[in-house]
Symmetry: C2
Subunit: 446 residues, 2 copies
């Protein structure tokens, strides 16, 4: 009899898990459910649609309905998973008409993602206050922007800043308010964050750090936000104060939740319950440096976990070793990326660090069009291994982050990086690669 | 008494050796001699001046005279090193007026570079036949181009192709003739080379492979080149059939020359004679994969060796571990890079290989402006380690080569690369990094 695989969730993790399962078992019956109207789209693209870099939200649909048909995946849209019964190996589902059904599974994959966390700010229920997670959210915000002259974004993480940048690109007077003393606190150290903030401010984005939002003001509709006594006009407010793993369904089924609040899995992405796997923003990963659980909540981590979950759920064998949290984005014409631990996080884990930071150019000094780039390398003082990197520049940031990620994964020491063989040509790099120079500076501080 | 350091050669290797020596020993007397009129320029930039990307040849001077003054380096231009006496520890030099002098050294650094090898083609002495190595060569070619309608470049290595591309950019009808059956034979496997060739041909460059030049035709001045019986019109001919290390001076002094024809050194860049160091295009390097000597002859290798030579010559301690030959260039709007061994070379060294090749995009599929990129990963079948990579794409090639170079240097296996943590954002990458996908394809062939 064909293996029955049920997948809850139909975005990066759900779809990649389904694809991997299908490739592993050609005959499996794969059913995928999502409570959303659209499956297989890329939420990472939403701010770039709002900023008009991408024409329409429909463009974000990476896997159209035809893909699921081709892969013989029974996709159920606008359908809720109500209950998992791990004894009976069933999932109770309910479609939008209210019709219930009980699906039997041999393997279950939970890819329920995360939801935006909204702190209990007074006035958060007013019209014009949004979170940004789904295409529907994107469409609503896009529409609200048509009439908005001013906006406040609460939270200066990647999603908050990407959204705020899009607002500025749309000509809206935008202020970001961050409670912590710097932007991107999970991704960047303060020195790097300050450089990024300066660049964003030069482009017209207002940023307030170290202050909380006291209240969202207005009658039915928001018209301002009160920050430390000051009123900031806002026709639109985005709450981007982070996301929390969607684990209620798993929790109710008795599946173990980890200390980070994400679903706990082993290296095969199997939860505490046999034949139940999980992947994506709802699970916790092991940090490859600290060996401790973390919430990665990145698309890249999600698809890698999903592939492993899908292969194992379909009877294959694969393991996921963990995450470094390598990430990157573009704000206006500035690329910002990071991998591994910040100095702040490393110190919190008891790792003493030294760092090396250099500002260089992306092309030979004499080659026109070169852009400024700043590379920071973070080193474990004891082992001399590279444990983190932060790069800000006009181009060529992404793959340097990947290069540092490879270095960290292979436990490269700062001495090795300072001697590394790199490539160069006048139109694409300086003779001395900035990563190598940054390593040399870190080395001198050991 | 102050240490006396003499350096023969004043470009990438010479200047970086001098800088490293100065930083190591603030009081040393450093004398640097070059037979050229200008020191401290970047020959790598010459084709890009000819192609009008860079305004003038003078822009290529990375280290102006003021730099040498600041570093207290006694720079002697247009001065020849006539003889090294390793017993007496002296170098006989002669300036352009014919005046001789004998310099005493405690440490000597030979950075004599390489010279273009010109095969014995009939007619190679005609007017209008050039090699390209120095700024003077560049200026002459630039001038000759003013009147040229057609050109032939003999040799399809990096320098030959970069020059040919510049000629096309200048509106000159240009044909490249390569004796071997493919372009870039030292850098790329045939599949990658074919893709590059196709791109170059689409831009208007004519390429003939697998055929030699029989004769350079014309009276005093070249007017055509004969290739396998066919006459190709040419007002200008560039011979770019590789370079040979400048080792005569070292050889005459009894310094050991390696099997590759380059000066042999230990890891400290010290030659067979105590206190005599060498660096740059005149020396051989150890290939980090095969452990065998190679001629790297890249600017990046030169500066790394020079730094080590300079530190040691000044009484410090540093080692150079070897080279992977990582290199990159840009032809029109195409970036081409490679690191490690080609499949062809690996097989010649008795390494059985598998490879994985994927064509992807440089941005999310839905993000406008993404360019095609092709990544090839070469794997040692026995150890499963990555031993080579070749990348061709519209952008983001250079740092992927660096990432693969790091992977090779840290002996990453293809299994590890297929699981690697990488970063992504819609404007700068696909969710699944192409290097990771290529590794996965290679993995399936193991």
């Amino acid at each position: 009899m064909a293996r029955k695989i049920v997948i809850i969730g139909a975005h990066a993790a759900g779809t990649d898990a389904a694809s991997a399962a299908r490739k592993t078992d050609r005959k499996a019956e794969i059913t995928m459910i999502t409570d959303q109207k659209v499956a297989g789209y890329s939420p990472c693209g939403i701010p770039f649609v709002i900023g008009r870099h991408i024409k329409s939200f429909d463009d974000l649909i990476v896997f159209p309905p035809s893909y699921y048909r081709m892969m013989k995946i029974d996709l159920r849209l606008e359908t809720k998973a109500k209950k998992i019964n791990t004894e009976e190996k069933t999932v109770e589902i309910e479609d939008k008409s209210g019709k219930s059904e009980t699906l039997q599974y041999d393997s279950l994959i939970i890819a329920t993602g995360a939801y935006p966390f909204v702190p209990p700010i007074k006035g958060r229920d007013k019209d014009g206050v949004f979170t940004l997670r789904t295409i529907d959210d994107g469409r609503k915000i896009d529409q609200a922007l048509e009439k908005a002259k001013s906006a406040v974004v609460i939270g200066a993480g990647l999603i908050g800043l990407e959204t705020a940048v899009a607002f500025v690109e749309r000509g809206v007077n935008t202020t970001v308010v961050e409670l912590l003393p710097q932007i991107c606190p999970a991704m960047l150290d303060k020195d790097t964050a300050n450089l990024v903030q300066k660049n964003l401010e030069e482009k017209g984005l207002k940023i307030i750090t170290g202050k909380g939002v006291d209240e969202i003001l207005g009658d039915d509709h928001v018209n301002a936000v009160s920050v430390a006594g000051e009123e900031i006009p806002a026709d639109l407010v985005i709450v981007a104060t982070g996301v929390r793993p969607n684990v209620q369904l798993a929790k109710d089924a008795g599946i173990e939740i980890g200390e980070t609040g994400g679903i706990k899995t082993n290296m095969r992405m199997e939860t505490s319950v046999k034949d139940v796997y999980a992947a994506g923003d709802c699970v916790e990963s092991i940090n490859l440096i600290t060996g401790r659980p973390m919430l990665s909540q990145l698309g890249t981590t999600a698809v890698r976990q999903a592939k492993v979950a899908g292969i194992n759920a379909a009877g294959g064998y694969a393991v996921f070793m963990g995450s470094l949290g390598s990430c990157v984005t573009r704000f206006f014409d500035l690329e910002v990326g990071a991998t591994g631990l910040t100095e702040f996080m490393a110190n919190r884990f008891g790792i003493e660090t030294v760092s090396g930071t250099i500002t260089s150019k992306t092309r030979a000094d004499y080659y026109p069009g070169g852009k400024s780039i700043r590379v920071k390398i973070i080193v474990d003082k004891d082992t001399e291994r590279i444990i983190g990197g932060q790069i800000v520049g006009g181009e060529e940031v992404t793959q340097r982050i990947n290069a540092l990620s490879f270095a960290i994964q292979k436990q490269m020491t700062v001495r090795e990086l300072a001697k590394a063989d790199t490539c160069y040509a006048p139109p694409v790099n300086e003779t001395w690669e900035p990563m190598v120079l940054a390593a040399e500076l870190a080395l001198r501080r050991l």
